[in-house]
Amino acid sequence: MNKVIFRAADISKSFPGVKALQQVNLSLNHGSIHALLGENGAGKSTLIKIITGIHRQDHGKLMLDDQLLQLHGPHDAISQGIGVVHQERNLIPRFSVSENIFLESLGNKGQTRIDYRAMHEKARVWLDMLALDVDPATPVNRLSVAQMQLVEIAKALSLKSKVLLLDEPTASLTSHETDTLFSVLHRLRDSGVSLVFVSHKLEEVQEICDQVTVLRDGVNACESRPMQGLDRQDIVKLMIGRSEQIPDWAARARSTSGIALELQDVCTSSGHRDVNLQVRRAEIVGLYGLVGAGRTELAKAILGKDRIVSGTIEVDGSPATISNVADAVEKYHIGYVSEDRKQEGLILMHSIIENVGITVWQQLGKARAFLTNRTIREHVEPYINKLEVKTPSLNQYVNNLSGGNQQKVSVAKWLAAGVHVLIIDEPSVGIDIKTKAYLHELIRELADTEDTAILLISSDMPEMITLADRIVVMNDFQVMGDIVNTRDYATMSEAIMNLIHRKQADKPTTPQTTPQPDNRAAL
């Protein structure tokens, strides 16, 4: 049972200016599920790309069945029996399920004409094995995200994968779909496949994995340890190098301050039903939920990007009609720090000063004929200094900054704009521990000293419990309830999970596909 089937030994990899991996080890047992953990930027993706032949390691070797592996490209890894399901969907949207499954073997020598009927029949076998009930002739763009994921697993299995890597497979699944996926993974493990499971949801990892490897800053924090005997705190300690602490901040009561933002019975075009939400001045309201609960979509509806079908929004006590983001920013002083820093938060190819200044051009431009860099600089520099953005110059392109500094820039522009309401979406994705703690203090300070009302969206439970005064729980595009934060991790996390699962218990058992336009667009 404990036979090692695959081993990565002393793997090192550098990119220009970055040592991504240094002498990393990982060994995989036959018929097991192995967790690969680490913070964003710890080197997980790089390791996966090396194992699957996308990158080549600078040093070290890969062994499969005690044979040395030389991978010159993804094709080599596939033919050796190493399959992967990447984080982003890798399917051809208009091709059928079966054609996607067998895309690799289409070009095999000797194969000239494609026999679709035979292909559909062959696909049936894999679909049955994964208990996926779809017609193999269906184009994959007609499937739900979860079904697409299963098609990708079928695709990897059809290549006789002995080793299967799953990179964040549950990131866009509902909890029901996750359960289905896990039963499939158990079955695969029992049939002798070795799985590598990458996830940032520690609860899932503990539930399903037998062994764990943790990376931190490109080195092993632990290597192929049995999962047994490790609890959540141990894993966190391995990942971040110290134990996770909820800072001992005094609880604040904000029930008397004025209401900055209020949603009454709001329904949106993206599918929210009867959402009620209140954020008072100087209050930090957490919006917790699993991926796909509709939190980011709600933020976009408040900003006027998605349409509000019914219900009212009030800003500072008076009704607001926000028809576009420019309205939200200029008329109602609402700002939004996006979860997707690179796509939505920043303009990577522009300088720091342009990124921070973008929200004040309008206001500064009104008073003068020409908007010089100096004018903008005078206005924004204090905020950049205040946030301690580390950069040789304000003209540095944002692309060249570290994740933490990038995040500081995307917060700085809203400080410069002087917003009254700030919606912050997943603020600590991809940033280091130190910056994260710093950002937390900053957010708290912003509420305390500037009276800013803050709506914090996060899937990071400790972050939520650290920061929020009140936690509103969302699931399936509805508000499930809200809880005043007591800052006691155990009781709070239990209360939150209860709120989420309350809904799931009384829901019909049919798999629910939440409308998620963004996931589909990614395909």
Binding site: K13, F15, P16, G17, V18, A20, N40, G41, S45, T46, K49, H55, D217, G218, L303, K305, N324, V325, A326, A328, V329, E330, Y336, S338, K342, Q343, E344, G345, L346, I347, L348, M349, H350, E354, G357, I358, T359, W361, Q362, G365, F370, L371, T372, N373, K390, P392, Y397, N399, N400, S402, G403, G404, N405, K413, A417, G430, I431, D432, K434, T435
Partner: protein, 355 residues
């Protein structure tokens, strides 16, 4: 579409180690600033312009004659404006295939206003340019409303605008234009400088100011670089796109009117079938000048120098008795060479952390 540089280093997953400013390993002896200057597009273009000027001056006696210089400046004036009219759209991350078509439409409208409607030439110019802005804005509105790529929209409208124009004019020309207007295109200041070139330089200054010192210009750059981020920062991206297409229409119109004043007549075929003849000069200027095809960065000076280099090469090659048809081949090769050099330059800068 338009994935011009696919040579970005894999920074996304190979994140930089936190809080270390990127190591600067630029050429040790020159210093990064100087290397960057020497590798900049503008510097390279200037060097090429000087180099070719010397070559042509030595090789052909006619090149330095005042008439040749005058004619070259006048042609450059038009080519530069055509380049600008494409540049302002490229900045927004799109493109405008209908520049030639709009240019001819505006030219014909100007001709009609001056000759048939009999308005004074300056009102004719203004009226025609308003039309250019409207046609351009129409492109922009359709792109914004349908969410389709500007390529296919402007491909369709280039056919539509040209078709309507040729239908209305029945392919006839306007040849009796006010003498002051025609004179303008033939005037020589100090015997060499065409007033058209001065107009072009002024427009270049205005555009520079627009991109550097105005809210709208900054917004256009932001919207072109990353429309999602720009919108979430409170920029009306849709309006910005419409504005830049309107601006493109005006600039294309100016180029058309300049040609009218130079030839003394408004002729429907002045930009070829559907205005396609302008496409190459329209892209040559900005691409040589280092305007990113993915949007978000503009170089007014680069476009100006790029278009000037193209004119210089054309003039020189023609004087060297290279047939006009072969010059077209040369320009195609030049465009190809330019994008390849640009690619390697960018790769070099990226590898040495100078971008």
């Amino acid at each position: 579409m338009n994935n011009v540089s696919s040579t970005q280093p894999p920074t996304s997953d190979a994140m930089r180690l936190e809080d270390e400013s990127p190591p600067r390993t630029g050429s040790s002896r020159l210093g990064p600033q100087l290397t960057r200057l020497l590798l900049s597009n503008e510097f390279g273009l200037l060097a090429l312009i000087i180099l070719f000027s010397v070559i042509f001056a030595l090789a052909t006696p006619g090149f330095t004659s005042s008439f040749s210089l005058f004619a070259m400046g006048r042609t450059a004036a038009v080519n530069i404006i055509i380049g600008f009219s494409m540049m302002v759209v490229i900045v927004s991350g799109g493109l405008n295939l209908s520049v030639g078509s709009i240019g001819v439409c505006v030219a014909m409208a100007g001709g009609w206003l001056m000759q048939v409607a009999g308005v004074p030439w300056y009102l004719g110019v203004v009226g025609a340019l308003v039309l250019g802005a409207m046609i351009g804005a129409l492109n922009g509105i359709m792109i914004v409303k349908t969410g389709l790529h500007s390529f296919i929209i402007t491909l369709a409208t280039m056919s539509i605008f040209f078709g309507v124009m040729i239908f209305l004019t029945q392919a006839g020309s306007f040849r009796e234009l006010p003498p002051e207007y025609v004179q303008f295109g033939r005037m020589k200041i100090n015997g060499v400088v065409s007033p058209l070139l001065i107009v072009t330089l002024l427009i270049g200054v205005v555009l520079s100011v627009f991109f550097r010192l105005t809210t709208s210009g900054r917004r256009l750059l932001a919207a072109g670089a990353n429309p999602d981020a720009a919108e979430l920062s409170g920029i009306r991206v849709d309006r910005t796109i419409i504005l830049c297409h309107a601006l493109s229409g005006v600039l294309a119109g100016i180029a058309g009117l300049m040609l009218v004043s130079r030839t003394g007549a408004a002729i429907p075929s002045m930009a070829g079938q559907l205005g396609q003849d302008w496409l190459l000069p329209a892209f040559l200027g900005p691409v040589l000048g280092g305007t990113l095809l993915t949007g978000g960065r503009a170089s007014v000076l680069g476009t100006l120098l790029g278009a000037f280099l193209v004119t210089l090469l054309t003039t020189g090659l023609l004087l060297l008795q290279v047939g006009a048809f072969w010059v077209q081949t040369c320009l195609g090769l030049l465009l190809l060479a330019a994008v390849l050099i640009d690619l390697s330059r960018r790769t070099y800068l990226a590898r040495h952390n100078l971008i």
